[in-house]
Amino acid sequence: MANNTVTVSGERGSAASPIQSTRKRWWRWLSGDMILAFLVLLPSIIAVAIFIYGFIGWTFYISMSDWKSSIPDFTFVGLKNWTRLVNDRRFQMDMRNHLFYAIGFIGQCIVIGFTLATLLDQKIKGEGLFRTLFIFPFAVSGIVTGVTWQWLMQPSTGINLIFAKLGMGWFRPTWHANIEYGIWAVSIAAAWQFSGYVMALYLAGLRGIPAELREAAAIDGAGTWALYRYIIIPLLMPVTFTVFVLTGMNSIRIFDVVAALGGPGPGNSIDSLALNMFQTTFGAYRFSLGAAIGSVMMFLAIFLVVPYLMSMQRETER
């Protein structure tokens, strides 16, 4: 799940000098310690090279082979599995689901996360308690989240009981069991788990804004609205970018919440690529097709990761 980023602390200040000194004295490369350092890192380099990069390539190759039973078959068949996949109804449904899920999930995380962070930043009594409560779902697994929300979103009980108590008995959504909109309900459960973490990121961002800036804005006569609109929100853009990448990644690989909510659901209404990949591969033994789905997820992820890492590298070089 959230194997996520924390951007490197204190990087800008102390990171710059070793780079420069290495450049100035390139012969330091030859020093025994530098070679030792490389050798110490080597096992990890090999592990990452094989288990990550090698395996990605291997998966891609499998996606173009003819492996569709429990016995591996690496005969090359070109794009056969890919054409099959693109025309597959379940796959098409998955793409629709991911789009809706991403909109719902990213939207909720950013809106809830930013709002709560802003409110908590107003010198609140009991801030620590609120913060602890808001963030703790992040320590809860996707499976537990899914299992719990599965019951909270049962049409006959859970949240609908609360609606009934509030005199809204006419409002009885079927939540994740709904064929049309089920996937939005999944995004609600997932956002419960993740939005507190987003709040924490925004709060850290807010705390990082120098007080002088706010004071200067106040002196210039900026009201609260203008302060946020013209100063704070633009200054928090890097946070929003990070949040966007993290939640976007989550939207690509969403698996455990969907599985625990009973996915793929009626008519694959709450299916995801990850669940489809798992069932196709390890349930139906269509390994090549599964590899193609895995590769699609990889390509989607690259679209998000590359700009993010490029921006990180720019930071590192600065």
Partner: protein, 275 residues
């Protein structure tokens, strides 16, 4: 002014309390349902407090998931420890021994953090089978350690980068080499970073479902999250038992978070956005 301010403050607290209820609601339901006796478990009275404390559903749930809970402990603790140690030395190299190409290498490491594991699962299974590690605890520990390399390196690198190079230079003058500097200068002050990374890895590995499901698929042996999912998917298990099983599985990470929340936060935030 002051009346308006009072209203604003009131509204702020109201929203905060509402969200506190929203975040607490699922756990509230998990706890009260687990504490009800079987006869009181009713869909229509989901929100009502139990009439006294009964631990029947916890006992039943524990009977269902305890072998898996033990498996999870046996995987999570060694995997978190080993990957933290690997991360510490890697972070040290990345922060203080920047050989040519180290930064590019670091970025390439980070890609691993973002990967959807579906893109590497099939080769992973084939490789673990070749190494006769498929379906074993050791295989799962190894997998978690490898997939933990990027994040642990990132966290430790950040911590070590914040330690002044003058300290390192002083060590060099005293005759410390590569290992000496690590052993005598960085390691003794690494405890905060270790705490953060251990906590992070513990949470991630404990909460993992996908890798456990693929590598240790045997239901008896599988990690606890797989067992909870199986319980929840089964029509023969009552829903209060399912919820108790979920609560048991969530307990270790939630308790650790509540006890060490500050460290947890430090890991997430320690200058999170300064970079």
């Amino acid at each position: 002014m002051s009346v308006q301010r009072l209203w604003t403050r009131g509204a702020i607290y109201l929203v905060l309390v509402a969200f506190a209820l929203y975040y607490a609601m699922p756990i509230y339901v998990l706890i009260i349902t687990g504490l009800k006796p079987y006869k009181d478990v009713s869909m229509l009275r989901m929100w009502e407090l139990p009439q006294g404390l009964y631990f029947d559903s916890f006992t039943t749930a524990w009977g269902l998931v305890s072998p898996n809970f033990r498996t999870s402990v046996m995987i999570t603790i060694p995997a978190a420890l080993i990957s933290s140690m690997i991360g510490s030395i890697n972070g040290y190299v990345f922060a203080k021994w920047r050989f040519r190409g180290a930064d590019t290498l670091f970025i390439l490491f980070l890609v691993g953090m973002f990967l959807p594991y579906q893109g590497i699962l099939i080769p992973l299974v084939l490789t673990l089978q070749k190494l006769s590690l498929y379906g074993t605890l050791a295989g799962l520990i190894l997998t978690h350690c490898i997939f933990g390399i990027p994040i642990t390196a990132l966290l430790f690198r950040g911590y070590y980068a914040s330690i002044p190079n003058e300290l390192m230079d002083a060590g060099k003058i005293d005759g410390c080499g590569f290992f000496g500097l690590y052993r005598h200068i960085l390691l003794p002050i690494s405890m905060p970073a270790f705490a953060v990374v251990l906590l992070w890895q513990f949470t991630t590995i404990w909460n993992d479902y996908l890798i456990g499901l693929v590598v240790l698929s045997n239901p008896v042996q599988a990690p606890v999250m797989v067992a909870v999912k199986n319980t929840a998917g089964s029509f023969s298990v009552d829903w209060n038992v399912q919820m108790s099983a979920a609560l048991i599985a969530a307990a270790p990470t939630v308790i650790v978070y509540l006890l060490l929340g500050k460290l947890f936060m430090r890991g997430l935030l320690a200058g999170a956005l300064k970079g």
